[in-house]
Every structure is written in structure tokens, then in C-alpha cells.
Symmetry: C2
């Protein structure tokens, strides 16, 4: 790779062809850093063929060839580390952006991940045994994931699948639809477990639809300053000052979670990080509590009849829910439905009973995707590294103890 | 019917069984008004069977029996008028709420419609030849129709139909989806033609998603006070002060409309009333203009490539668009897609080419429906009649010259 031994070196490894407007932006923002771009395959364990990668290697220090690794003039250990970094996660979310200075690669100063979570990496030696700073792309996912949340929630509450099937049959089903008509979200209550960038943007849109928001956070937020969003978020979105929720709940105990779940929720959005502490934190007891106390007072009082059972939304990680318990809660009508962009495991096996649970919407972990992903991930990196250069705290530095 | 000849009499005729909590509310709010409730059928030209209706008739002055009419002790002309009022519109939107005082029925003081528009009634003698005050339920539709707008727009921009079909096949299509990923609405521009209760609530939610709003109104709104919503709207929704749009356009000429359409729109929401002046106001020239200037500067500048063609949303009335021109604009890629809850005619015939136009979402005029409909329509009536009793101006009085 070019540059002297003391020059900072940024290695970008992504599944896409080089986004030239973004690498040009990086060169402009950081003229003193060497930049190398690798396109890697998103397929499980796979890398692009020799031709694709070989042609992109400037100095031949590191060469990724097919699924195997060739070492050309570089330290074996460094290459192994690099390859490890590239391969812990078999799907798109392994996409990484690495900042190295100076070579060799084992002197890594920063690993910036393009995913919001670090949970897939927790057993990796870099997380377990090193002190390399790791930052995530948490904060860029608010807008697309919120669109997914709002879309699937409305698809469920407005019975869109029925209308979609009518259209395929060229059927004007107006009269029948009257019976199916759902309720809207004015005056309903949406509970948001995890009030970060995604939870805040979802709160913003649910509130615009007319809903009340109950927020649940690990640490208490009793003061206005404690309610502010101190993380990265896409400008013009979210709830920067934390003024949207009408009620705040907090804690990490079962009791505190249950207090939140009993607050009369028409929908529950799970937007927590997956950590050992949050694994299976929502199980049969939690679904029962949500289902029995769910439906806000307003819903219950309305003339429309009995309150609909609460709707569950999970855009975080599948294992936060006890999935067999969720299947039961759906099939038994304890919950009114669920929208799940994440499952346990992923991909969800063909014969998993979750596929056929009542009123479930399942999508294959796509809620964060969109054409803006790369631009925002690069913008977050630029913002972060400029903060670092100014001696300020970077956003999204992974706390190895907390696990996120 | 009970009460003396001078007592006010409210006749409610709806397609639903009597909503007793609402009629009880009316009796409580207006103890001096006699109230009669009729359940009528939503089927074309049909009324509920004798038994259903007969049992609800208190004094037998008016009797609707099956599809024919029996007159029992009432003035033939009054009954004919009443039946006329009940039957101009063959589907659910003919649902009416009539306030009569005192009998006979030809002394009607107010006809309150449960629909937002009066366009289906324009040829009716009551509209053409009488001076009876007519009020609509405009204003109650903001929340459900906005949910429909947001849902269908996101279903289109996020390619939800693909994910829906994957789920039916238990297919985890993550990798493929990456290619299909759409754009989100942060920084996009949504044009809203007709900035009433629906347009304002849609603006509120699109703005929460991160979009800029361009409003288009018939009369200019140069001052803060001119931008306020003076109509009825569901509390806690909409844009009461008109502060959301970043740009305002106005006029009733083709030139003024074209100026608005050329303002760089990623989506256009049609929320105008149907009048002789707005019939086919959007035709081939307008779609071409929208398509060629569409895509906000931000979209065009983004690295994601060429701007997507604008998306058209119609929740107003089908004939506002030149429908064959719309089919061409969709099939030729002039527009990127459309979501239509209204068509011309309705029901849309099975062999209409609109059904198979590219990237079109069609639903059978259901966007306003929901369990809250009746409650809000009654609330609007109560609000209105209390204003009338206090000598204030009622909301939504139909202007026969404007046609809405």
C-alpha cells in the first residue's frame, strides 16, 4: 500500500463496487490519509473472485483471493486478523470500514462497523482480547427502519394484505372492506423499549400519526438534560431533546420492565441492543402482561368495542424475544399481531412455526437497507473522525462491558 | 315521530346498527331534540328488510320498507324527498345524518353528510334547487386517509410487495432485497395539492419522516393568519398553523398549477375537491411536467444515481385525473408509480387498463374507513350544532357556487 510507514491508512471493505463519490469525499476531508478500497462478496464466507480484488490492490501487501487467502509481502498475523475481521458475520452486516495507522494492520486504531450492533462480534478476539476502538453505525438507521416500522404497523392495522390480494384479482371489494376496517393510531399508546436513534425517530412519526409515546430506557431519565439524544442521528429526524414521550419508564430489572409493559400499550416496539442481559428478556410472562394490560384507556373506552390486542414490533435482534413463546402468544391471541424484521435464527428455517403464526409479518432483516445507507455510514465516519481529530469524543464507541 | 310540531327532530340514517353510545351522547348534548335512527343498507339501491326498519320506527310517519317505500300518515312529498336524500349515491358514502325541525320533512334546516365531498350530490334537487344548509364531514378523514397515504407510499418505495410474497413462500430473500432497496423520505419533497385537513395531516407525517412539503392552494396564503386551518380537524393532528410547508404555491390557473408541479417534487398528493373546475385538471401535460422536473435537487444530487421518477397519490376523486393519460404516464415511466384509492369510474371495471398499469397500487375507496369514523362524524355534528346554537359559523357548510 502506498505511503510511508507513519502515514495513516484507511482500508474500506464493502460488498458494493467502490462508491466513488464517497471515497472522493473521504480523500477531500482527509487528504493526509491513504485510502484503499476492497469490494468483498456478501455471500456466506465468500469473497469476490481474484480478478475483481486483485485489480484493486495497490501495493500487493494484502491479497484476498477467493475464499482462501494469499499473503504477498505482508505479515501473516496481520492478514489473518484482517481476514478475521472480514468474516465473522456471514451476511451483509459484516460490512466493515477499517482505519489503520500506521501499518502493519495489527496496529489498528479504529474499526468502524457499518452495522448498528456489535453483537455478532462479541466472541471475536478483536472484541474479547484487544483494546482497539470499535465504533458502530448506530444512528444512521432511524429513518429507514422507522419507515419499515410504520409501514408494517399500518399494513397490519389497515389489513393491507387483503387489499393487495384484491388488486391482483381486479376485485373492487369496498363493501367487504368496511367490515375489515381497522383502527387508526390517534390516541393510541406506543411503548418503545430502547429510546435511541431508531426509537426516537419511530416516536416522532407515531406521534405525528396521533399516538402517545411511552419510552423505556435502561438508565432513568428524570431531567430534561438526561432525555437528550447524545448519539449520532440523521439531521432533522428523531427526538433530539426527548420531548415526545408522555411517560418515561426505566430500569434493567424484570420488575421495571413489567411496570412499563403494564402501562397500557397498543403497540410495543423493541429497539434494544442484544446483550447477554437482554437475551430472551421478552418471554411468555411479558407477552401475557402486555396482552392483558394492553390497549390504552382511550382504546378501551371507545365505542368501537373491545380493545384490539397489542401489536409487537421487533427491529432489534431476534434472540431478544423468546421466539417459541411469541409463536404461542400470537396463535393464542394473547397478542394481536407482530411485525418482525429479525428472527432467531436467521435465515429463519423453512419449517419454523413462526412463519405460520397468526397475524405475523416477517421480512428478512432488511429494514435498515436503502440507497442512503452508504452515504450516511460514510457521513457518520467522517463526523466521528473529525471529532477525534479535534480531541472530542466519538459517537458510538463500543463499550465492551455493556456489549454495545 | 314523537314531539310536538315545533320540536326539532333529528333523523339519523346510517348503514350500521344504531351506535347506542353515540345516540345517547346526542340525547345528552341536545335534550330538546327528538332523535330517530334508521339503519339502511349499503347495497346499491337497497334498504334493510322490513323487520329491521319497521321495528325502529317510533310513530310510523315515515316507513322505508325494503327497496320500495310505504307512506304511513305522512306527506307524500316529504317522504319522496327523504328517500331521494337517502338514495343519490349507491354506496357507503351516501350515509347521511339529517336534522329536521320542525316536521314536515320538507322544512329541513340542515343536511349533514358523512362524506367529505358533496360531488356525488351536485345534480340533486336539494343541492340545485333548495337553500337547505348542507354540511359535510370534511375534517374527520385526516388521520385514516393519511395512514393510507403513508402506508401505500412506503409499500411502493420500500418494495413491500416483494417481501410479502417472500413471506408467503417462507423465503429469506435478504441478499436479493439489497438490490431492491428503495430510498427513504429524508430530504425528499412532497407536493400537496389541496391543503385541507387531509393534506395537513399528511404533511405532518411526511415531515416527521424527514420530507419537505410544498403546499398548493386555490387562494394565496401569504401571511401566517392566512395559513391557519379554519376548518374542523381531529384534535392533535394536522398542521393547524400552517407552519410545516417550506414553500407555498397557489392559484386556479394552469400556469399556477404548472409552477407548483415544476417545483421539484418526489411525490404529489392530490387532495383537492372534485368540482367542474378540477375535473381532469391533471392530464398528460401535467404528468409530463411532474415527471421531467420531479425529483428534488437533493435527490438529484445524491450519489444514489438518477432520481426516481415522482410518485402520484390520489385520495380525492378519480375524475380529477385524466385516467387514460395516467395509465400512459405510468406505463411509459413518466411517473415512477401511483397509489390510488379512487378511480374513474368506481367500481373500476375488471377490464380497465389501470389495473395493469406499471407500479400502481389500487384500493377500492377505503382509505377513510375505520372504527373511529362514526365517533368522529358524530363529534363533528355535535361541534357544529353547538356552534350553530351559539350563533357561530358552522364548519364545512357547502358553498353551492364552489361546489364544495
Amino acid at each position: 500500500m502506498g505511503g510511508g510507514p507513519d502515514k495513516e491508512h484507511l482500508v474500506i471493505a464493502l460488498g458494493d463496487p467502490e462508491p466513488k463519490h464517497l471515497t472522493a469525499l473521504l480523500k477531500q476531508q482527509f487528504p493526509d490519509i491513504d485510502i484503499t478500497y476492497y469490494q468483498v462478496s456478501r455471500a456466506v464466507g465468500g469473497f469476490k473472485d481474484n480478478k475483481t480484488l486483485g485489480s484493486q490492490i495497490p501495493d500487493g501487501q494484502i491479497c484476498l483471493t477467493g475464499p482462501s487467502v494469499s499473503v504477498m509481502g505482508s505479515d501473516q498475523q496481520d492478514v489473518a486478523l484482517f481476514v478475521h475481521l472480514m468474516r465473522p458475520e456471514p451476511r451483509w452486516s459484516f460490512i466493515t470500514l477499517l482505519l489503520i495507522f500506521p501499518p502493519p494492520i495489527s496496529s489498528l486504531k479504529l474499526i468502524h462497523l457499518f452495522s448498528a450492533g456489535v453483537d455478532h462480534w462479541t466472541d471475536h478476539p478483536v472484541v474479547k482480547d484487544s483494546n482497539i476502538t470499535i465504533t458502530t453505525s448506530s444512528g444512521i438507521h432511524g429513518p429507514p427502519i422507522t419507515e419499515w416500522i410504520i409501514m408494517t404497523t399500518l399494513v397490519a392495522s389497515r389489513h393491507y394484505a387483503v387489499e393487495y390480494e384484491w388488486q391482483k384479482e381486479r376485485h373492487w371489494g369496498q363493501g367487504e372492506k368496511f367490515q375489515l376496517a381497522g383502527t387508526d393510531w390517534v390516541g393510541k399508546t406506543v411503548g418503545i423499549a430502547g429510546y435511541g436513534s431508531i426509537g426516537r425517530q419511530a416516536a416522532r412519526v407515531f406521534a405525528a400519526l396521533g399516538a402517545n409515546i411511552h419510552a423505556y430506557t435502561a438508565s432513568p431519565r428524570p431531567t430534561p438534560s438526561s432525555r437528550k439524544d447524545t448519539g449520532y442521528f440523521v439531521p432533522g429526524t428523531g427526538d433530539p431533546d426527548g420531548t415526545i414521550p408522555s411517560a418515561w419508564y426505566s430500569g434493567t430489572s424484570t420488575t421495571s420492565l413489567h411496570t412499563f409493559l403494564a402501562s397500557g400499550l397498543d403497540a410495543l416496539l423493541v429497539a434494544l441492543p442484544l446483550t447477554p442481559a437482554t437475551r430472551h428478556v421478552f418471554g411468555a410472562a411479558e407477552f401475557d402482561l402486555l396482552g392483558s394490560s394492553g390497549g390504552s384507556p382511550k382504546t378501551k373506552a371507545a365505542g368501537a368495542g373491545a380493545a384490539a390486542k397489542p401489536f409487537l414490533i421487533n427491529i432489534a435482534r431476534g434472540p431478544i424475544l423468546d421466539q417459541p413463546a411469541l409463536v404461542d402468544a400470537l396463535n393464542d391471541g394473547v397478542l394481536g399481531g407482530a411485525a418482525l424484521d429479525v428472527t432467531d435464527p436467521e435465515p429463519l428455517p423453512k419449517d419454523d412455526p413462526l412463519w405460520s403464526a397468526k397475524n405475523v409479518i416477517i421480512t428478512p432483516h432488511v429494514s435498515s437497507l436503502g440507497k442512503e445507507y452508504l452515504d450516511r455510514a460514510f457521513d457518520l465516519f467522517v463526523t466521528n473522525w473529525k471529532r477525534h481529530e479535534r480531541g472530542e469524543k466519538m459517537f458510538n464507541v463500543v463499550d465492551r462491558k455493556k456489549g454495545y
